[in-house]
């Protein structure tokens, strides 16, 4: 039994099966991310006026690392180019060039994920501190002479944990105050980068930049993690086609080329999601 049009195009639709399949799948993906983006808009619109952290539930601005985000945007867009080049190489029958471009694409994909995890870690080790006297700070924490561990999700502190582990005092290095327009450098210069001892009894709220802290972090981590998962799965599939899966090139080059086209379409979609994500979450 053979299923028709697995790689040859059906004359009246002009498409092979997998191409129809991937476009349908992408349609459903658009609805998936569309729902998350809509949720982002709704949560942001209904947030009270004022800016976090001064306003507890206000929407934060400028929290995310824009240079890193820009870098990642460039990385992903480049990978979209290289994946097209890989496909074009196959069309011209150059399997070696195909593999080179696939390796480049994979490097971009894992580079993106590496940078993203650095970005995440920056958030997990960053704290919001509210004192009972009404002061609000963001900054970095030192407990018992140690910064919270790198890459250890279990090492995230909050007031409950301080109480439970009977920590009487923490060292807190506040971030420099946000530069106001025109006096950026002056503010930086006047700020002292020293840790300050803060007693537990003075603290009314201590929370890292993690999802439960604020809906901004909740939606930021949810969307970017889901997107990161797509990048990861896409990279796995491409790694398969670049190495063991490329055996098919010898038996059925046309079908193999089609497979790369389909993977490429998925990869462009993943790229496109980021192109929306970056301005919406990082810049606006």
């Amino acid at each position: 039994m053979e299923i028709p049009y697995t790689y040859k195009a059906r004359p009246d639709t002009g498409l092979y099966n997998a191409k129809v399949g991937i476009w349908l799948f992408l349609a459903s993906e658009i609805m998936l991310f569309g729902a998350l983006f809509s949720s982002y808009i709704l949560l942001r619109v209904q947030a009270p006026d004022g800016v976090w952290p001064e306003m507890r539930l206000g929407w934060p601005h400028g929290l995310l690392n824009i240079p890193i985000g820009t870098f990642n945007t460039v990385v992903l867009i480049s990978s979209s180019v290289t994946v097209v080049m890989a496909w074009a190489s196959l069309k011209m029958g150059k399997i070696a060039a195909f593999r080179r471009y696939m390796i480049l694409t994979l490097m971009c994909a894992f580079g993106f994920l590496g940078v993203k995890s650095y970005d995440y870690n920056e958030k997990f080790t960053h704290y919001e501190l509210r004192l009972k006297n009404g002061e609000v700070h963001t900054g970095h924490l030192e407990v018992n002479g140690k910064h919270p561990g790198f890459w250890s999700f279990a090492d995230i502190w909050n007031l409950d944990r301080l109480t439970k582990e009977k920590v009487a005092e923490v060292q807190f290095t506040a971030d420099p105050p946000k530069p106001k327009a025109g006096e950026a450098h002056a503010a930086e210069a006047g700020h002292e980068h020293v840790a300050k001892a803060i007693k537990r009894d003075e603290i009314s709220r201590l929370e890292a930049f993690i999802p439960r802290n604020h809906n901004f972090f909740a939606i930021y981590f949810t969307i970017t993690a889901l997107h990161g998962l797509h990048v990861f799965v896409g990279a796995l599939v491409m790694a398969y086609f670049a190495f063991p899966g490329s055996r098919m090139w010898r038996t059925n080059p046309e079908q193999f080329t089609n497979r790369i086209e389909v993977v490429g379409l998925f990869w462009h979609f993943v790229d496109l999601v980021w192109i929306f994500l970056f301005p919406v979450v990082y810049l606006l």
């Binding site: 039994m1 053979e2 299923i3 028709p4 049009y5 059906r10 639709t13 498409l15 092979y16 099966n17 997998a18 129809v20 399949g21 349908l24 799948f25 349609a27 459903s28 993906e29 609805m31 998936l32 991310f33 569309g34 729902a35 998350l36 949720s39 709704l42 949560l43 209904q46 947030a47 539930l57 993690i210 999802p211 439960r212 802290n213 604020h214 809906n215 909740a218 939606i219 949810t222 889901l226």
Partner: protein, 592 residues
């Protein structure tokens, strides 16, 4: 020329791997759409029975609150522990059973049966395809469904039991209940949704790409059209619920506040959350799936009914094109009616007015569908076999279900009827004697193709008449209860509810008796289904019902690859009693 080549390749392929596939490959890890359809069907029927049993326990509690459940009470106590102490149903258990009855019936029974089972088995046959476009994706779709089902089932036995927040899982209730049932529910849902997505992609691609030569769009049997639209509904409506499930899972496991408002108090204490979320957001995302889901439930049933009516009236279906365009219109409109489930949320009169308008508009194509089926009966010499009886009963039952929906679509009357037994009566009329009757009709109709034997007519008729009686005795009184203001979701059947009068309370008992009758009426079906596989009357030919569509042009049962020779289609799907034809039916593959 091409056709010859294809046949040659076909024959050659068979010789190359002539060895019989092993048991696992043939029945468990199969990529054959027919076997996957049967897997879906059997699993879904088991869940259908299981969901029904949950409801029987609940009905006992409603009729006799606080009395130990007969027969299964001690078993429940043994398995579930304190929630079923002394064999009595605690309110927590009642809530669990209620939530899981809805979830199981919708996501694990009806959708898999209507879309997974019938769609898989019949669609490739009816369009003249050798299999689905992506057989392995098809297998994965069933496996995801199966895993989702297992997760849902296991959740009954974890400490605290299964999810308790209703099948709609409204936040903040779903996040405030301090057990892990809801997390299991959400993870199970993610599997079920992924399964549906894989299925939907596969169905749509198959229908677009694998139609046999000559099978143009307007020659597709209506059943295929119904599945096509259903596929799009699943494809586009389910992902928002997947997103919502992920967000609610974040709320439950990681303490976020997507759906939790500022100042939420649980058990009299301020909840330890950041707040700032929106409970309405969950409802919007849920019902954005939830309403198209209603049409996912009903359209395949309508497709089956259409096939059976055309076949047993021996007439072409009246208004084929109206049916097709109506079903497309329903598919489109079903995406913009969802908030009529939310009139009472205070989302605003302007939004309510919009959704009230679209809701009234969507009733038009639904009425067109039903009208076409009714007119198709006109002047036919009807064969009253079991599938036809179920198909005929579908029409008035769905009619009652649909028309009682109108007062719920108007927001003025909905404010009174919302969350009452009237709502339960309404949607069960659509789904139970509606869709389930359609599906039963389909089982009796395609059973001869699957096995080569008929199901027993006498048992089938007993099954039909007692089911019809049982269904109506169960659901019709609910309209009265609802109009009398009886609220749903009350673990004691409303005895403590001051507004409920004697009549409404007394109806609880009669409904419970009717539910038992309905349960007993399914016994002949179960017996019939299994005995007929070996002992049923053998079919005389490959086309026992003398039908026109391609599914009957295959060998019985269809082998792997379906057709002996590649089918070519020459005509529309319902050419019955054409003037001048030799017989009273002209199959689609017949040239002259």
């Amino acid at each position: 020329m091409q056709a010859t080549n294809h046949t040659a390749a076909h024959g050659g392929g068979h010789e190359a791997h002539h060895h019989e596939p092993g048991f696992m490959q043939k029945y468990i890890f199969t990529t054959d759409h027919k076997m996957i359809g049967i897997q879906y069907g059997l699993t879904a029927l088991i869940f259908l029975l299981f969901g029904f049993c949950l409801m029987l326990c609940m009905r006992w509690q409603i009729a006799h609150p606080g009395h130990p459940i007969p027969l299964v009470g001690s078993l429940l106590e043994k398995v579930l522990g304190d929630v079923a102490k002394d064999g009595k149903m605690s309110p927590d258990l009642y809530n669990s059973f209620g939530a899981m009855h809805g979830t199981i019936m919708v996501f694990l029974a009806i959708v898999p049966l209507a879309f997974g089972a019938f769609g898989n088995y019949v669609v490739p046959l009816q369009i003249g395809a050798p299999d689905m476009a992506f057989p392995r994706v098809n297998m994965a779709s069933y496996q995801f469904y199966f895993l989702g089902g297992i997760i849902m089932f296991i959740s009954f036995f974890i400490p605290g039991g299964a999810a308790q927040a209703g099948w709609t899982s409204y936040s903040p209730l779903a996040t405030s209940i301090p057990t892990h049932g809801q997390a299991f529910w959400l993870i199970g849902m993610v599997f079920l949704i992924s399964s549906s997505l894989l299925g939907a992609v596969n169905f749509i691609a198959t229908i677009i790409q694998l139609r046999a030569p000559g099978m143009t769009w307007m020659r597709l049997p209506f059943f295929v059209w119904a599945q096509f639209v259903t596929g799009f509904l699943l494809l586009l409506a389910f992902p928002p619920l997947e997103a919502a499930s992920v967000m609610q899972l974040m709320d439950n496991l990681f303490g976020t506040s997507f759906f939790l408002p500022t100042g939420l108090a649980v058990g009299g204490r301020l909840a330890d959350i950041s707040g700032g979320g929106s409970p309405l957001l969950w409802q919007h995302l849920f019902w954005f799936l939830g309403h198209p889901e209603v049409y996912v439930l009903i359209l395949p049933g309508m497709g089956i009914v259409c096939e059976i009516i055309a076949n047993n009236t021996r007439k072409t279906i009246w208004g084929y094109k109206s049916l097709v365009f109506s079903v497309l219109a329903i598919g489109f409109l079903s995406f913009i009616v969802w908030a009529h489930h939310m009139y009472l949320t205070g989302m605003g009169t302007k939004i309510s007015a919009f959704f009230q308008t679209t809701t009234m508009i969507i009733s038009i194509p639904s009425v067109i569908l039903l009208t076409c089926f009714f007119i198709s009966l006109w002047g036919g010499s009807i064969r009253f076999n079991t599938p036809m009886l179920f198909a005929l009963a579908f029409l008035p039952m769905f009619g009652i279900g649909g028309l009682t929906g109108l007062p719920l679509g108007f927001n003025a009357s909905d404010i009174y009827l919302h969350d009452s037994y009237y709502v339960i009566g309404h949607f069960h009329y659509v789904v139970a004697p509606g869709t389930i009757f359609g599906l039963m009709a389909g089982i009796y109709f395609w059973f001869p193709k699957m096995t080569g034997r008929y199901m027993n007519e006498t048992l089938g008729k007993i099954h039909f008449w007692f089911s019809l009686l049982g269904m109506n005795l169960v659901f019709a009184p609910m309209f009265i209860q609802g109009l009398k203001g009886m609220s749903r979701r009350m673990a004691d059947g409303g005895t403590t509810y001051f507004g409920a009068d004697d009549i409404a309370i007394k109806l609880n008992t009669s409904i419970t008796h009717a539910a038992v009758l309905l349960g007993l009426a399914q016994l002949p079906f179960i017996v019939n289904l299994f005995l007929s596989i070996r002992n049923g009357r053998k079919v005389e030919s490959d086309n026992p019902w003398q039908a026109t569509t391609l599914d009957w042009a295959t060998p019985t049962p269809p082998p792997h690859g379906n057709f002996a020779t590649e089918p070519i289609v020459y005509r529309g799907p319902y050419e019955y009693s054409s003037p001048g034809a030799a017989r009273d039916f002209t199959p689609q593959g017949q040239k002259v």
